[in-house]
Chain length 268, copies 2
Amino acid sequence: MKKTERILCLTEILLSRPNELLPLGFFAEHFETAKSTISEDLAVIKETLQLTGRGTLETVPGAAGGVKYLPGIGKEEAQNFLEKLAATLSTEDRMLPGGFLYMADLLYDPAVVRTLGLIFASIFRAKNPEAVVTIETKGIPLALMTADSLGVPTVIVRHGSKVTEGSSVSINYISGSSKRIQTMTLARRALASGKKVLIIDDFIKAGGTAKGIISLMKEFEAEVVGLGILMEDALWHTGRLVEDYLALLQLAEIDPESGKTIVKANKI
Amino acid sequence: MKKTERILCLTEILLSRPNELLPLGFFAEHFETAKSTISEDLAVIKETLQLTGRGTLETVPGAAGGVKYLPGIGKEEAQNFLEKLAATLSTEDRMLPGGFLYMADLLYDPAVVRTLGLIFASIFRAKNPEAVVTIETKGIPLALMTADSLGVPTVIVRHGSKVTEGSSVSINYISGSSKRIQTMTLARRALASGKKVLIIDDFIKAGGTAKGIISLMKEFEAEVVGLGILMEDALWHTGRLVEDYLALLQLAEIDPESGKTIVKANKI
C-alpha cells in the first residue's frame, strides 16, 4: 500500500471513530508497518486538521496509549454558520403561541444540529463534561450531537412522573413563563452519582426548565459545568431564574403587525 | 501545498459534510489547482473508502454537478457490531415491567446510535427515503443518526394531542400489547405531502405503535418505503399488527428465575 493510500485510510478510520482511543499498535498491525511510520502519518494528519479546522488529534503516550480524534469546528466557520441560521430564522411565519419560535424543522435537521453540536462541544470541551443532559423532546437532537462530538453519553430527562425504568427521581418545578407547576423525572440508573454534566436545551425564556434540571442534577450529586442554549428570548424582560448560561442565538424582535421575527447570532 | 496534504484536507472536508453536493470548482478554487487534479484526488479517496468500508463518493456530472460523500459501513463490521451489542444486552438486570428491555443507556449513547444509524442507512439507502420518521422519545437518537447518514430530515411524531406548532393531525391507535387507546400527533408543517419516508423505532412487540405511525403517514400522503426496528420481541407470539419490517436484534429468551435476557443479532 502506498503512503498516500495508507494515510488516507488512517484519516477515514480516525474521523469515523471520534473520541475513541485507538492504539498505535492497532494501526501498525492493520497497515503492516512500524509504529514510527504511523506516528509520522499522524503528524501530517494533525497538521491538515489544523488547516481545515476539523478538530485535532490527541496523542496519549505509554503502553495503554494511542491516538484520539477530537472533532471541532473553526471559530470563523462557526460564527458564519450561526449568522446564516439566524437569517433563516428571521421570517414572517415562525411565531407560535406563547412567544416561542417554530424551529422544529431546523432542530430535527441532522446537518444543522451536527454543526451546532460541534460548536457547543468546541465551547465546552475544556470543562470536561462526562455527560450531556437535556429534557425531552426538542432539545434531544442538539444534546445528542453535542455528546457525540464530546464523546460522552446523553441523559434525557422525561416530562411527568411515569417512568418505567426502575427507581427514579422526580422534582416539581415552575415553568417561569407560564407559572404552571410541572414534573420532570430521571431514572436512577440513567446517571451515576457525582458526574460533571453539561446541560443543553433549545430555548430559554424565564429559565424555569433550566432551573428545574439544575435542581434535579443536585439529586444526582452532579456538578453542572455548563449550560448551553440554542436561543435565548431577548424579549423576556422580567428576569431569568438562571443567569449563567451560554446562548448561540437570540430572539431579538417581533414585529407585532407582520409577525416577523428577527433572530441574531451572538458572538461566540 | 503537497499532494498528500491536499488530498487529506479534501478527505477531511468531504467526511465532515456527508450527503452534501460539493462542486469540483469549490475545491479547485480552495486548493488553487485544476479541476482535473481534484478529479484524480477524488478517485484515490474513492478507492480508499472502499478499503476501509466507510462509504462511497457519488460523482454528479455537469455544470450543477460535484461530489457527494455517502457514509456507509462494511457488512462484516456491521454484523460484528450487532453481535457485540446483543452480548451487551444479554444480562440479568435489564428486564423492565411490561416485558421491555432497559436499553436507554445504549439508545442514548452517541457512538452506539451513530453506528446503528449507519447500518440502517446502508440497508435503506436504495429505497431513497426523503425523511426518517419516528415517535418520541427513545427512538429519536436512532432516527436522527439514520437521517444524518442518509442526508434527510427527521420527523418526530409526538404523544398526545397537545402540539403547539400550528395545525396538526392526530390519530388514535391501540397499543397492541397493552390494548390501551392512545393518541399521536404530527404538525402539518413537519412533513410536506407525498414524501417517501423511512420509519425507525427502537422496539416492536405487537406492532401497535408502528401501525399507528403508518396510519398517520397516510394522512400526509406519504409512501412508507421501509420500517427499521432496533429490536423485535421474539417472545411475542400472538401476532403482529405489522409484518413488513426489518429488525437488527431480537429479544430471544427470558429466564423467569434469574430474569436473565438473551438477545440475538439478526443476520443483515
